[in-house]
């Protein structure tokens, strides 16, 4: 499928919107003394805005797709910072394996059971109401 190239102006405008959101989020978090990360606040703000306008501008969508395709690369530099913690990891690896593995298993099963439980509860009540009427 042929997709026309995104004009440079649209690309730059969308990048400016994303960086502007990040800046606004950081300023807001700082000004209000919120414990939430400014970047996350900016993402939540954009999310709420999208729900309100119910559409994603095309240039923003395509610029974001480009960025998100390389997202894993973008957190590699910060991840390499783990070199400072290698002795700590070597000492605590058993605790970490238990915490990560245990918490993962508990979380998957509890979430799964909660979703199934609510779905079944509602469908049973729904079918009972259907019988009553």
């Amino acid at each position: 499928m042929f997709t026309p190239r995104l004009p440079a102006a649209a690309l730059l405008r969308s990048l400016a919107v994303l960086v502007g959101c990040e800046l606004a989020g950081n300023l807001l978090a700082g000004a209000l003394g919120l414990p939430v990360s400014g970047t996350v606040l900016a993402m939540a703000g954009l999310f709420v805005w999208l729900i309100a306008v119910r559409r994603v501008p095309e240039s923003l969508e395509r610029t974001s797709q480009g960025l998100l395709r390389i997202l894993p690369l973008l957190f590699v530099p910060a991840g390499v910072g783990v070199v400072a913690y290698l002795p700590l990891l070597r000492r605590e690896w058993l605790v970490l394996a238990a915490a990560i593995g245990g918490s993962l298993a508990i979380t998957m099963l509890v979430t799964w059971a909660t979703m199934l439980g609510i779905t079944r509860l509602l469908s049973r009540r729904g079918s009972r109401e259907a019988c009553d009427s």
């Binding site: 970047t39 910060a78 509602l122």
Partner: protein, 234 residues
């Protein structure tokens, strides 16, 4: 930028490119996750070259800068995934609140009960959240974002492997529940794997990943302020 800085950028790009190629070649095997491979390879290179991390980061900061706008851009797929909810809104909200709380409390609780140092406990709290947001949250609650990145990736890999066998057999398969719990517990890495099992599972996994990221990012910093003093950052 200094020559070492340019070298840091070039090495990061080259290592990630090679790791990503290997990952694709393996049929996207979770154990060969390109970020984990890249971090290990770059850490080994720094060690071999006797290059301290801050000097590497002087250059690599250029790549890391774009993590901010890319994290903001995550709002778009999270918004898109909302369409998967359909008629399941009450179940989705219930599973989100219960599951997300379980993810935070169980990780912190197990590590704390086993006597892990506070830095580890704090860095584990957001381990089920998609890596860039987990790192931001970790920084807010006094954890180490670099540790959280590694914990989140390991959690994602474990979730991608667990999804095939962890759910009780004999039960009629509900792909929405399986997908949702996979994405909530093991974010994007689990979601990528859920898509290979079932389209509905993948969609609900992506939905859960986004909602859990939002929920945890807003709740965890507030909860951390109420934690016992020994777990606090400052």
């Amino acid at each position: 930028m200094s020559a070492v800085g340019v070298l840091a950028v070039a090495a990061t790009l080259a290592v990630y490119y090679a790791a990503d190629a290997l990952y694709r070649r393996s049929g996207r095997h979770p154990l060969l996750h390109p970020v984990l491979l890249s971090i290990a390879a770059l850490a080994a290179l720094l060690e071999a070259a006797h290059l301290p991390y801050p000097r590497y980061m002087d250059g690599a900061r250029l790549i890391a800068f774009f993590l901010g706008p890319a994290t903001v851009a995550l709002a778009i797929p999270i918004y898109r995934n909302l369409s998967a909810i359909g008629g399941s809104l009450p179940a989705v909200i219930g599973a989100l609140v219960v599951g997300s709380t379980t993810a935070m409390v169980s990780a912190v609780g197990i590590a704390w009960a086993l006597g892990a140092p506070p830095l580890i406990v704090r860095s584990l709290a957001a381990k089920s959240v998609t890596t860039p947001i987990a790192m931001a949250v970790s920084g807010e609650i006094g954890g180490a974002p670099a540790l959280t990145a590694v914990f989140a990736i390991l959690t994602g890999i474990a979730g991608a492997i667990a999804v095939a066998w962890i759910f009780p057999r004999g039960d009629r398969v509900d792909w929405r529940a399986r997908g949702f719990s996979t994405g909530l517990a093991s974010h994007a890495i689990g979601t990528a794997h859920a898509f290979t099992l079932d389209e509905t599972a993948g969609a609900f996994s992506g939905l859960a990943m986004g909602l859990n990221a939002l929920f945890t990012a807003l709740v965890l910093p507030l909860a951390a302020a109420l934690l016992p003093h020994s777990l606090r950052g400052h």
